[in-house]
Structure formats: C-alpha cells, structure tokens
C-alpha cells in the first residue's frame, strides 16, 4: 500500500449517529458506534479507526461527530488531537457533514484524496476491504471521480439502497465501473430482480474522492451548501473554526449526500466488493452476521442456558445467568436498566417503539 499511504490520503469517519434501532444496547448518550456490539473487546468506532491506520497516518484521520459525543470519541480514540474531531453543532444529515470535512481538507491540502466511512459498520474481511480502498484511492487520485464502494449482494435484502452499474469496464486495468443509477430500498420482488440481474450492488455509504472533486460537485449540485462553506473556508483550520461552524453550519439544508450529489452527478463510479460487510443496522443484521450454535441461536453472554430455544439472538452481560426455555425467533437484550424480549422478525418496529417509550416513560430509558 505504499502508493496510497501517501500524505495526500485522508479518512473522514462519520460518528454522529444515534443508532436507535439498536436500542436498548444503544442509547442517545451512548450510540452504537461506541459499543462493542460483537463482543470483540473493541467498540465499532475503535475497529473502524484501526482499520484505517493501514491506509494513512493517524494524523490524517478525522472524526465527524456531535459535540455531545466528543468526549466519548476521545476516550475511544485517544491517539487523536482535538483538531481531528470535528463537531457538528446540529444534525443536518450527511451532505453538510461531508462538505465540512471536504472544505477543511482542501484548505489543508489541495491535493487531499479522502475516504468517507461510517463508524459503526462491520467489515469481516479486512484485507479485501483495504484492497478495494487502495484501488479506489488510486482511481480518484487520477480522475475527477466520485467513487462509492458497492457491496456484492448475496440476498435480496430490502433494507439497503442499491446501485446499478454499467458492466463495461471503463479502464482495462481497474475494477472500477461507472454508476448508472441509485435505487431506493426496493420491495422484495424488485430486490430479487436486482440480485438476479447481477448489475446491482448495495450502497454501503463508503465514498472515495478528492476534496476538490466533491467540492466541485457541491458547487454544481448544491450551491447553498457550497456557498456556506466557501464563505468560511478561510477560517477553517484556524482558532476561529468552531465558532464559524457553530454559526453557519445550522444554516445548511438537512440532506443526505445521496440526494444532494450522488443521484445527480455524472462522474459516479463504484468498485463492486466483497469484504464481509454489514451496516449492523438492526438486531436482525447482527443475528445474520454472527455465528450460530447448533440450534441457530446467537449468544452474546457467557452464562446462557437455552432449552428448546432456537433462532434467537441473546445478548446479556457475561456475568449474568440467563435461562431460556421454549423461545423461537426472539431477541432477548438485557442491559442494566432495560430488558427487551421481542420477536426477531418484528425488530424493525424497535425504532418506533423507542418513540412510544419516550412518550410513556420520558427519555430516561433512551
């Protein structure tokens, strides 16, 4: 990776989400990225950070988060300086967040070529992941291209957005393909068609581009956001940065990078990849990604006794004895102050459930 571990390579890790679909493990003040969901001994953000240390020097890694989570970020990533932790004063979705880091990196280094990645996904095959990243960095360094890593689908998942790409290889010596169209989360028959066609990959929200390329895209496709950051670009990387961000950032429209840029621009490319990826969006995705016992139970906890119990996800403290009998297809999540026992195939209701809990019980348990 000598080519890419260049001083021009940067990483922006997005760590501002609240992960409400992982309640009660995730909470407003302790979102998913700070949890060791998989029981690996590391939080998801720590795993993400260490993965990118293979790509660029530690000082080139930036975290985009909320003021509320700044201390937790420092705790999980003590190697970072304060200047590497960018705090959004408001939640305006991903486009403003990416514009912020793009303008900041461009101001630091006009040749900056950077990766944007979520902090709370899992990637099981690190070598394959780094291979795709490396190819992407080379491609975007040499082209005015906006690149999104695409995940080869292995099932007709209706929980992800899809990307249709053109199977004509634009350059003989790369694995980079031109993107034709972004597709919203499909229904099951549509997802089946996508899977069978072989022309679609999942949209993983992992992007690679030069700062200059994405800034040009903002100028063209979302001038409101462009103008806001252009107007404060002189203050970025100075002692005035946080103050101007606090003042101007909330004026940005709340819009995703997909809507703002990716669905409009014509220079979008993808690298179809397979690296054991999951966005760990829900308990069911954790179940899907985890190894099962001989009755298809996923057990996170060291003292779990299951009797006539199958297809369940059980996540409890190691020191707690949990005895379960006659449960089929449930999730059982025991946190210190909350116990959730819920049918696994209805767990998409959990986000709405947390709103209901908030109404009934206040925010205490969220």
């Amino acid at each position: 990776m000598n080519n890419t571990k260049s001083k021009n390579t940067y990483v922006a890790i997005m760590a501002g989400g609240i992960g409400s679909r992982f309640w009660p493990a995730s909470r407003v003040d302790r979102p998913k990225q700070f949890l060791d969901i998989l029981g690996t001994g590391q939080s998801l953000i720590r795993s993400t950070f260490e993965r990118f240390l293979h790509i660029c020097p530690v000082e080139n890694i930036f975290i985009l988060t909320n003021e509320a989570y700044k201390e937790q970020v420092k705790e999980h990533l003590p190697e970072l300086s304060n200047e590497q932790i960018l705090c959004e004063p408001s939640r305006n979705n991903t486009a403003p967040c990416i514009a912020y880091v793009a303008f900041k990196l461009f101001q630091l280094n006009p040749a900056a070529n950077f990766i944007v990645a979520p902090s709370d996904h899992i990637i099981l095959n690190e070598i394959a992941f780094l291979g795709s990243i490396e190819k992407g960095l080379i491609f975007t360094a040499q082209n005015e291209a906006l690149l999104t890593l695409g995940i080869q689908p292995n099932r007709p998942d209706t929980g992800y957005g899809y990307i249709k790409y053109q199977k004509i290889n634009p350059q003989e010596d790369t694995v980079v393909f031109k993107v034709e169209e972004f597709k919203e989360k499909p229904d099951l028959p549509t997802a089946q068609t996508y899977l069978e066609s072989g022309d679609y990959v999942w949209n993983a929200g992992i992007f690679i581009w030069k700062a200059s390329s994405i800034i040009q895209a903002f100028k063209k496709y979302n001038p409101v956001i462009y103008d806001i950051f252009q107007s404060i670009s002189e203050q970025l990387n100075t002692s005035e940065e946080q103050a101007v961000i606090n003042e101007k950032y909330p004026n940005c429209p709340s819009i995703s990078i997909d809507y703002a840029i990716m669905e409009n621009a014509h220079n979008i490319f993808t690298i179809p990849s397979e690296f054991g990826w999951s966005d760990l969006g829900t308990w069911a995705s954790l179940y899907a990604e985890s190894s099962k016992d001989n009755t298809e139970n996923v057990l996170y906890g060291e003292n779990i006794v299951t009797i006539d119990t199958k297809d369940c996800l059980i996540r409890v403290p190691n020191e707690k004895l949990v005895v379960l009998k006659d449960l089929d297809n449930y999730i059982v999540i025991d946190e210190a102050d909350v116990l959730l026992i819920y049918p696994k195939n209805k767990e998409q209701e959990i986000k709405a459930l947390t709103n209901q809990i908030a109404q009934q019980k206040g925010n205490h348990f969220l």
Copy 2:
C-alpha cells in the same frame, strides 16, 4: 380474642426452608421467606410474624430456622430475642423440628398450647384466619387433640396433599371435624373426585396442639425422636441448649410431621377454613394468587411495557424498563444476576432446573 391471647398460647414459625422452586428470586442464602415476593413492602416472614402478634405476646413467638439464616431472621424480626430463634444444626424435615419446639415449650410452660406455621405462605383474609386459629386454640386447650387447619379447595389442585374429614360434627358448638385420612398429592382425576365430594380439604401444614399432646404423640408414634428430646429436656431453656441440640438433633430421623405423626394418630381434627391461603410454592401459585391486568398478565415491576402479551407473570426490579412482545403464558423473572424466561405451565421443572444449573455452573447462581 381475649380468651386465646393467653399466656399459654405460643407460636412456632418454621423458617428453615430453601424454597428452590422460587428460583431465581429465592436463593440458598436468601430463601423465599425473606423475600417480599408480593411487592407488599414486607417479607413473607415479617407478614407471618405480624399476623401472629394478634394471637399472643411477642415473647411467645419462636422461630425455627437454620444457623445459616439466624442473622436474616434477626434482621426481619428485630423484636425477637436470641432465645426465641431456634437453630437446627441439620435439615431433618419437620418432625424433629416440631418435637424440638414442643419439648422446649413444655419445659417453659406445661400448659403451652401452640400453633406451628410456615413462614412463607400468604394469607389474604387475616380476620378469617385469626378466627380459625382462635377456634382451634380453644379446642386444643380443652381436648387431647392434634389439629390441622384444612383449606377448602376451590380447584382440583394436584400440588397439595388432601385431608379427608368426617362431616359429622363432633361438638355442636364448634367447626372442628375429625380427620379420617391423609392423602398424598393426587392425580387430576382423583383431585376432581375429592373436590366434588366435598369431604376433602387441603393440607396447609398449619397445626395447633398443646405441647403435651404432641409430645405424647411422639412418644407413641415416633419413640426415637421422643427419646432424643426427652433425654435433653433438662438442658432446654438453659445455656446448654444449643450445645446439646447441636450434638443430638442430627441423630433424629429425617421425617415429616405428616409421616411421623399425622398419618398414624387417631386424635386428628381439622377446621375447614377459607382465608385466601396459598403456600406460594411455585411461580404458578404466585400467578394464581395475584391480580391480573386486562390481558391476564401479572406484573411485579413499575416499568413493564407488554405488547400482545398475555397470561404472563413478570417480576422485575421497579427501576428497570422491561419491554415484552408476543409472549403467551411465560414467566419472566429478572434478578440482578439471573434472568429466567420460562413457560409458565412448565414451571414445576424449575426445581430440577436448579440442580442442572448447579452441575453446569456451580452453586454461584443458586
């Protein structure tokens, strides 16, 4: 109750049990009698004790327990002196335990007339209970009788022993009936027959007799136990009591009062009673005795959210939020270190389950 609150009336509360069928709420070192199972704010032993304060002065109440539980008894019943807490050095079932207190009371007061009662039952109708006790005390004071309170059955329960009594009233002015036979826990068809005949009551293990009467019964029907206590009767109520008990008590055969005396003696009487009694022997009996919400759930806990959940018993800490969906006929018991989720109609397996847990996990969780 002026007649019966006499200086001759004593109460012996048996508090040596381990209540393993109430696991994980009850533990070896914190058995059921010390728990506030019903969430009343009082432990079962405290409720039992306060109930008997209507019957006799506090100094006439004795607790039969194990050395291991002595400190807990003192904590729950601080009114008692050390002399009122009798510690069995070994678990030899109820007959030796009752013989011990009978000889001790007889030595204190040859006219002693006393009640033997478990510490961990519930009695909802205290007035009716005290009425039965009062009638029983009058009867045993005047007769050489061994009296056991009988509970009018309201269902064909197969978890209790039954007592067949003669419906010819032996004395016109009492409600005391002669017992014909003791019956082991029956199967369901037999229990149905018992219920329909109207000739049976449940054996609640609450006895009334003069110390002299039960001592005579031991002399006749279990001379081994009689001889042991007769040989040390001079040391009872002296500073040597515990030492001789520690030496001799373990020599007693391990046998219940039912087997040792009640099934053999001919002077057994009962008062068929209705006072909202349950032995709270199992989680299902707690469910049966507790008030239900409109979907037949019994909820012990202040932050329980049930969705499409019915016929369940949920017992969790007040401060813990518990969210349950799609559970039918389960018990969910959350203790600090143990969580049990079990089909309610299989909860008679819990005693065996605790043995299995002991094998797999050691005694840590028991």
